[in-house]
């Protein structure tokens, strides 16, 4: 029993992390048609900000690293938009894609050459994150429980925003038809900004959990999680918010399942098996599980 619950939580926490990242990609894509390849660098920036805070400010409690890390992620996403993506907003989609590649390369190289962070640097996390708690006789990792809970809360909050606020409704409408949204007097810049703030916030949450698990930063730390998030988003149907969440969770479950069933000898090829499975799903459903292009969150059926 212990084992089953632990594995379920394991899948939920990994899947939740992918879902947070995939959602950020999906929101930006549906609102402005941009495939943000620099999404991973938001995580890296959040990580290094926590590292810098730890080194230079030596806060008395590691607690402080969390909100600052999230704030840094939002600031990074907003800065990317303002500096790099806004000037090419009306350019063809490939221009946006190349711009995102450019941002990604610039940020990585900044940390490699300017900060000189070629080896991973350790960052402490609050002790209790690594602890276990016992609920009903089952040992549960605090970090995993927290990760699953935060993901769930973030998703519910996002849903409420998209259904109940003007900016949320405007984002959903803009996913289909930005010009008509502007005809309502709604500022395009605000809608795009909201999309990046949300994607930054979600990436920041993911970054905190990634840091808590790794306990270290390096310039390429954003690559692997965001690669998985891309796979999750494509699996769910790129641009679909429901798809991003389902795709992320499905990927988490698949990873945990392969981890369990694969014999030790080939356990190292877990990701290859996962991608093979995703590939098989995409052959059957090329548009992804929930794929209708540009479709937003709460569509029926």
């Amino acid at each position: 029993m212990d084992y089953v619950i632990q594995q379920v939580l394991n899948a939920a926490s990994i899947g939740g992390e992918y879902a947070l990242l995939a959602l950020g990609l999906a929101i930006v894509f549906s609102v402005m048609g941009l495939v943000n390849f620099a999404h991973g660098e938001i995580i890296t920036i959040a990580g290094f900000t926590m590292y810098a805070l730890f080194i230079f400010a030596s806060p008395t409690s590691a607690w402080w690293l969390l909100p600052i890390g999230i704030a840094a992620a939002i600031a990074a996403a907003v800065t990317f938009e303002r500096v790099a993506f806004r000037p090419v907003r009306n350019a063809p989609a490939t221009t946006g894609l190349l711009t995102a590649f450019g941002v990604s390369i610039v940020v990585k190289n900044f940390f490699v050459s300017v900060v000189g962070a070629t080896r991973p640097r350790a960052v402490p996390t609050p002790d209790w994150l690594g602890s276990q708690i016992v609920i009903g006789g089952v040992h549960i990792q605090t970090l995993q429980l927290l990760e699953a809970a935060v993901t769930a809360i973030a998703l519910i909050a996002l849903l409420a925003l998209l259904r109940g606020t003007n900016i949320g409704l405007a984002m959903r409408a803009a996913a289909k038809d930005f010009n008509t949204v502007r005809l309502m007097g709604i500022r395009a810049n605000q809608v795009v900004l909201a999309a990046f703030v949300i994607s930054g916030l979600l990436a920041g949450l993911a970054a905190v959990f990634i840091m808590a698990r790794r306990g270290a930063v390096d310039p390429f730390m954003g690559f692997s999680p965001v690669l998985k998030a891309f796979v999750a988003a494509v699996l769910g149907g790129f641009g679909s918010l429901t798809g991003a969440v389902v795709g992320g969770l499905a990927l988490g479950v698949a990873e945990v399942l392969f981890q369990i069933v694969l014999p030790d000898k080939i356990a190292g090829y877990r990701d290859a098996f996962v991608f093979l499975l995703v590939g098989a799903v995409l052959i059957l459903r090329p548009q992804g599980l929930f794929g209708r292009k540009y479709q937003f969150g709460d569509k029926e059926g």
Partner: protein
């Protein structure tokens, strides 16, 4: 209210609008007529800044809006109900109306205006919580107009409001346009339905191949079969743009 001075629109090498000038006075209904591809949609899109102009000037109540963003032009009181309705299909009828009022902060006023729209368009009250894409074409057109009204525009530009509607609905929409004018709105109506539009409008402009070909009083146009035939290709007794 609206002064358009030698406005041009180009898409690459395609010149869609060539130095068109027109005026709409406060309280008027003005018809903008012309065949497919004449440049009508391009002209009003340029007026509200949805497409860049390739020259010329637009003034709204004496303010130069030629270089302003669409969002700001709408906030100044001029808006477009776009061709093909463009309602937000994934959102409910109520949410569409709410977004129409997104620039306003007067909660009570917004609620009162929604109530007024629901009285004017009873079908929208009935379907208030339905997703807008489940509405019929005519219902969507009503929603599109109601949504435009929610921003309390001074000048409303309707792009082919009768497109694809059954005659009875066309009549209803045109009746509504007269009603809106009575409420103090100024209207520029783009139409292919020349006869119906002229019956409604004080004045008319006719475009063809991006150029303004005629401007004058609707009565004069309607009274002259020659003019109708020449500019609209609709001879004696024809109706609703059917070739004479």
């Amino acid at each position: 209210m609206l002064v358009v001075d030698r406005l041009s629109v180009a898409y690459g090498s395609i010149k869609a609008v060539r130095e068109v000038s027109l005026r709409v006075e406060k309280g008027e209904i003005v018809a903008l007529l012309g065949p497919n591809g004449a440049g009508k949609t391009s002209l009003i899109s340029a007026i509200v800044g949805l497409v860049p102009s390739a020259g010329g000037k637009v003034e709204l109540d004496g303010t130069d809006i030629s270089r302003k963003r669409t969002e700001d032009i709408v906030r100044l009181g001029a808006t477009v109900t776009p061709e093909g309705r463009k309602i937000f299909g994934d959102l409910t009828v109520g949410q569409n109306l709410r977004l129409g009022a997104a620039v306003r902060r007067d909660r009570d006023g917004i609620a009162a205006d929604i109530e007024q729209m629901l009285t004017m368009f009873p079908i929208l009250r009935e379907r208030f919580a339905s997703r807008a894409q489940t509405l019929s074409g005519g219902e969507q057109q009503q929603l599109a107009i109601a949504r435009s009204m929610m921003s309390r525009p001074k000048l409303l530009m309707l792009d082919e409001p009768s497109l694809g509607l059954a005659p009875r609905l066309v009549e209803q929409i045109f009746g509504l346009i007269t009603e809106l004018r009575a409420k103090g709105l100024t209207l520029l109506v783009v139409e292919q339905n020349a006869y119906d539009a002229l019956a409604l409008a004080d004045r008319a402009y006719i475009m063809n191949s991006g150029r303004l070909q005629f401007s004058g009083r609707s009565e004069d146009l309607l009274a002259s079969d020659d003019l109708m035939e020449h500019y609209l290709g609709t001879g004696t007794g024809g109706h609703a743009g059917a070739p004479g």
